[in-house]
């Protein structure tokens, strides 16, 4: 009521006091009613209102800018080069070739009715969580992806329309509104949206540092858990991504053992997002949570694995995600929830054929790894040339790059200024670490599997120019 004083001064005396109280109150009421009316006329629910708003995270803003002004070597050479989308465009030709040899123009081609054009069998209602044949083919595929050492049980698979609903469904099954998951940082920006929007669940970041290669420490987990408990918040689980996004490192076996042990002691769940398991290009050994559980005598009922075909098979548009759970109650609940997010029947039919062709899949996975490695090598040698550091990683479609050398000071504000410069001046979209909740400013995720070799070089050149500009402006 700061207005009261000057008004009092103007009018003076008792009249001023009354006016000085009345006017601000009236103003406040008027503005409040206007806001209510505004909300009322907009008529969207309170929980949907923030969702309806435009995205503010640089992760989404960058993607949006690229779609308005996308780089094209011929048509738009001054457009923005996309390094912010972890998509793999390197092996689609292999699938295209497979399609032309195996489908004979039909949208289905499976077993005994290979090449048959019939639409029967895929039009009607299917089990919401996917047809058995696809679950079987998926179990086999996942096994191939993980090197053939683990076998997956098709009856523990729940298929969803992409990994996005998979993780949301798992959250709905494991946590009530107000509960929390511990998530090591930096993490995929989409988790903030996918896991919390409609579930009411919260994410508690557990910070990882460059000093130990961004590998999660149990001490940090413990601290985060204790702090949550002090606040009276119930932690229901830990979410890890392995290979990690955005860093691209693989969790060591010991770390996984320690995490499982921690989960057991605290009696919480563990979700392992392994969507990049088939995109491992380095020589490090990959330990899927399934592999650890297979080998050791851990209590499996708290473990769940997320997977999907968007990254390893580049089929993001086909919407195929997987929840693999060792907990029967979770499976039962998740299956029911897939009614809201089922895989489209023609897509299921196509994938049964594709994934069952194990010799093609074997060749595909090997070629895919080689091509990703090639691009990775080109990209990091480019970074080396321009004196920019990065984390040496083994998995994923991206590189975790340290651009703090291009910053004048070491804080988030500077990082975002650099991001802006890269996006709008250099015309390169990379995801700033702050969008991934990184505790150390200056890190950027750069995806390199959507570009040709030549375009990677152009991107590096543009980053170099920014580096030079920054050096000269110091």
């Amino acid at each position: 009521m700061r207005l009261v004083v000057p008004l009092r001064g103007i009018v003076g005396g008792r009249g001023g006091l009354i006016l000085g109280t009345f006017v601000p109150c009236a103003l406040f009421c008027y503005l409040h009613i206007r806001r209510l009316r505004f909300l009322a006329t907009r008529r969207v629910s309170e929980r949907a209102e923030p969702i309806a708003k435009a995205e503010e995270s640089p992760y989404y803003v960058g993607l949006g800018r690229v779609s308005q002004d996308p780089f094209d070597e011929v048509a738009n050479p001054n457009g923005i080069i996309q390094l912010g989308l972890s998509e793999n465009r390197l092996c689609l030709d292999l699938i295209e070739e497979w399609l032309s040899e195996n489908l004979n123009g039909a949208m289905i081609g499976h077993g005994s009715d290979k090449g048959h054009l019939g639409i029967g069998g895929i039009t009607g209602y299917q089990p919401h969580d996917g047809v058995t044949e696809l679950k079987e083919a998926m179990a086999g595929f996942m096994s191939q992806v993980m090197g053939g050492e683990i076998s997956f049980d098709p009856s523990r698979i729940v298929l969803t329309a992409g990994a996005t609903p998979a993780i949301e469904i798992l959250c709905f099954c494991l946590a009530d509104p107000g509960d929390a998951f511990l998530v090591p940082t930096p993490y995929y920006p989409g988790f903030d949206r996918d896991m919390t929007w409609r579930t009411g669940v919260e994410l508690i970041p557990v910070h990882c540092h460059s000093a130990n290669n961004f590998i999660l420490s149990i001490a940090a987990l413990q601290q985060a858990f204790n702090q949550a408990r002090k606040r009276g918040q119930r932690v229901q689980g830990i979410l890890i991504s392995n290979p990690s996004n955005p860093v691209g490192n693989l969790l060591p076996q010991k770390t996984l053992h320690d995490i499982l042990d921690f989960a057991r002691k605290k009696n919480i769940h563990i979700i392992s997002d392994e969507i990049f398991a088939g995109s491992i290009h380095g020589n490090e050994e990959f330990f899927s949570l399934a592999k650890i559980l297979d080998a050791e005598n851990f209590d499996k009922s708290r473990a769940h694995i997320l997977y999907g075909l968007s990254k390893d098979l580049s089929l993001a548009g086909f919407r195929v995600g997987v929840i693999y759970s060792y907990n029967d109650d979770v499976l039962a609940a998740a299956k029911k929830l897939t009614r809201f997010s089922s895989v489209s029947a023609p897509t299921q039919r196509l994938l049964i054929s594709l994934l069952s062709d194990t010799s093609f899949i074997g060749r595909y996975l090997e070629t895919n790894r080689k091509r990703i490695r090639k691009m990775y090598d080109i990209f990091v040698s480019g970074l080396k040339e321009i004196g920019v550091k990065y984390v040496d990683s083994s998995g994923g479609l991206y590189c975790w790059v340290d651009m703090s050398g291009l910053m004048h000071s070491h804080n988030v504000k500077e990082e975002l200024e650099l991001w802006d410069k890269l996006l709008n001046v250099a015309k390169v979209n990379a995801t700033p670490g702050s969008a991934c909740h990184s505790i150390e400013p200056g890190w950027f995720r750069c995806c390199f599997t959507t570009l040709s070799e030549g375009n990677i070089r152009i991107a590096i050149e543009r980053i170099r120019k920014v580096a030079e500009m920054r050096k000269s402006s110091r």
């Binding site: 008529r43 123009g105 996918d194 009922s301 919407r319 609940a333 029947a345």
Partner: protein, 469 residues
Amino acid sequence: MRLMLSGKATCNSHGQDSSYFLGWEEYEKNPYDQTRNPQGIIQMGLAENQLSFDLLESWLSENQDIAGFKRNGKSIFRELALFQDYHGLPEFKKALVQFMEEIRGNKVSFDPNKIVLTAGATSANETLIFCLAEKGDAILIPTPYYPGFDRDLKWRTGAEIVPIHCTSSNGFKITARALERAYQEAQNRNLKVKGVLVTNPSNPLGTTMTQAELDLLMDFIIEKQIHLVSDEIYSGTVFSSPNYTSIMEVLSKYEKAEVWDRVHVVYSLSKDLGLPGFRVGAIYSNNDSIVAAATKMSSFGLVSSQTQYFLSALLSDKKFTKNYISENKKRLKKRHASLVSGLQNAGISCLESNAGLFSWVDMRHLLKSNTFKAEMELWEKIVYDVKLNISPGLSCHCSEPGWFRVCFANMTEETLEIAIQRIKAFVESVSRGHDKAIGGKKCLNINLRKKFSKWVFRLSFHDREAGER
């Protein structure tokens, strides 16, 4: 110490009604097959349109390129494989709205920018409720209604459904009094009413709403300042007069009014095109906030780009859609007439209907007493003795016992004939005073009765995999 799951995962009350799904279970144990199991249970509880596959198949055989991811001879596989934009494939949205316009006799026009694609109408309805209501808010729905709403609209959203009771006295039409009563009931329960949800054409009634009902609804939502959701999933199945009037037609008179952005339509290709497995649904709204929020939420249930592309080609073929719409209606009309006349010969009447894939059948005269207990007893006999899976009115929240939904579009003409014969035989035996308990005394089995009481009068944790509506 027990590992904790969420309340939603462990609750038993996510709207799964017993009787509706128990019939399914029995059917699946003993499904009718013309050659292999002619004594099995005939499925008449599945509202699926299987009458016009041949039209889809012949289109497919003439357009193989489309299924092979080709456009004008050129492969667009790459483009489709990577396409995950929640705004949807523009060519599909355009084709879909044009199809929706065609179904409505081109009396309304739809803007492709106002449509949100979802993985089926199930997802569309849930998403819309997330956008319109908070946890604990109420949606008013006329009874009888599709049993799946109890699950789809309430489970994750936390919303409540308050029924608008409609009765046979006026053909189950919505009245001003019923609307007002429902609103009052919500208030008495301290529930904030956010909107009314209607299915037009109606499931399970198979009728289209009259102009009077539509105007009544508009007046009601204007007065109460609430939303209206019109689930028009059966709009393409209107096979006889009166002509279909979509809420969008009525809304066109209110373009400058405040209510303009409080009316929303849900659609799907599951019924009209008989493609429930494809998982294609849509929300249509003039409200940009709702379109914005729903678009983003559709990330949790996008339509496969492969499917979008295929359907954009199918629906853009005007020659196909024109022929399909009219031929499909003819077949539905004929099949409906077979069922209705067959039932009439057995002394059973149906609510006069002009749409949908089912009839709302009046078996009140076959009840031992005018109670839901008697309805359940009759239903047991029909499932176990007559060997027909039909849906009891109780499962649809009908306020009067004795009504059943019987589907006719998910079987061959021959199978329907057999079903009618079975009903006729049953009715004759009832009128002769015998109770033909074929297959032993299953329905008198005490354990089974107990199971029924538990199931009918207390929601239980059971799901059906196959679909619904």
